[in-house]
Symmetry: C2
Subunit: 135 residues, 2 copies
């Protein structure tokens, strides 16, 4: 719940954050590892996992628990939803301003204390749709 605990500023953390900020995709931990390794060849995969987890906890980045087998990470922390292509598994952002509204609707029909929600759309991206038409 606190912002930045006693977290030291290490080269590894700086570079992980920089590399994540460079891309608009939503890379998996392993993809971040590959990106970072180009600048820090000796970094360990465990370090990448540990730091992505810490940064997500402290709210510096977003950890997306979308479908599929791997978690994904996102340097954009403004509230938004995601859409995943069922063909190529790519994940894109999508913005529709209905958060408040949906939380209110949910609060009305169940006895949980609602903290938030996430919408994951599934569909077929432009690229994959074209490939289908091509053949």
């Amino acid at each position: 719940m606190d912002q930045l605990p006693n977290m030291r500023l290490t080269t590894q953390r700086q570079i992980i954050l920089e590399e994540l900020a460079k891309v608009t995709s939503h890379p998996t931990a392993n993809e971040v590892y590959d990106m970072v390794r180009q600048r820090l060849p000796r970094i360990g995969l465990g370090t990448v996992y540990r730091n992505l987890e810490l940064m997500a906890e402290s709210g510096l980045i977003l950890k997306l628990e979308v479908g599929g087998t791997q978690k994904r990470f996102d340097a954009t922390i403004s509230p938004h939803y995601h859409i995943r292509c069922i063909q190529c598994s790519k994940v894109d952002d999508i913005e529709i301003p209905v958060q408040q509204h949906i939380n209110a609707l949910a609060g009305a029909v169940c006895d949980y204390l609602i903290l938030g929600h996430h919408i994951e759309f599934s569909g077929i991206c432009d690229d994959c749709a074209q490939k289908k038409t091509e053949h």
Copy 2:
């Protein structure tokens, strides 16, 4: 996309489906395995996974790709959303009739072919909220 392919009716499949239909929780594959094993002690975990996957593909049951480390399964296939307690990880159903509306909004702002969506709420369930107050 087809309903039931050339799927044989085996004891294992029958019992997996029966046990899943008995509960309103959203058990993980391993929890289904435990339930089924009480009636079929020699069933293999692989068989449970294979069949849950097949049934989900053919639309007999729902496979929930909610957050957390394990997938969950649900015998209720009518469209509904889910809410997960951040304390105890329990998953409940939640029904708010906004599917069409949300798909339309999303379709308007992105160039995917929208196939559907799922909303996962997070919150604190009644039980956990009470435990907090108790102490």
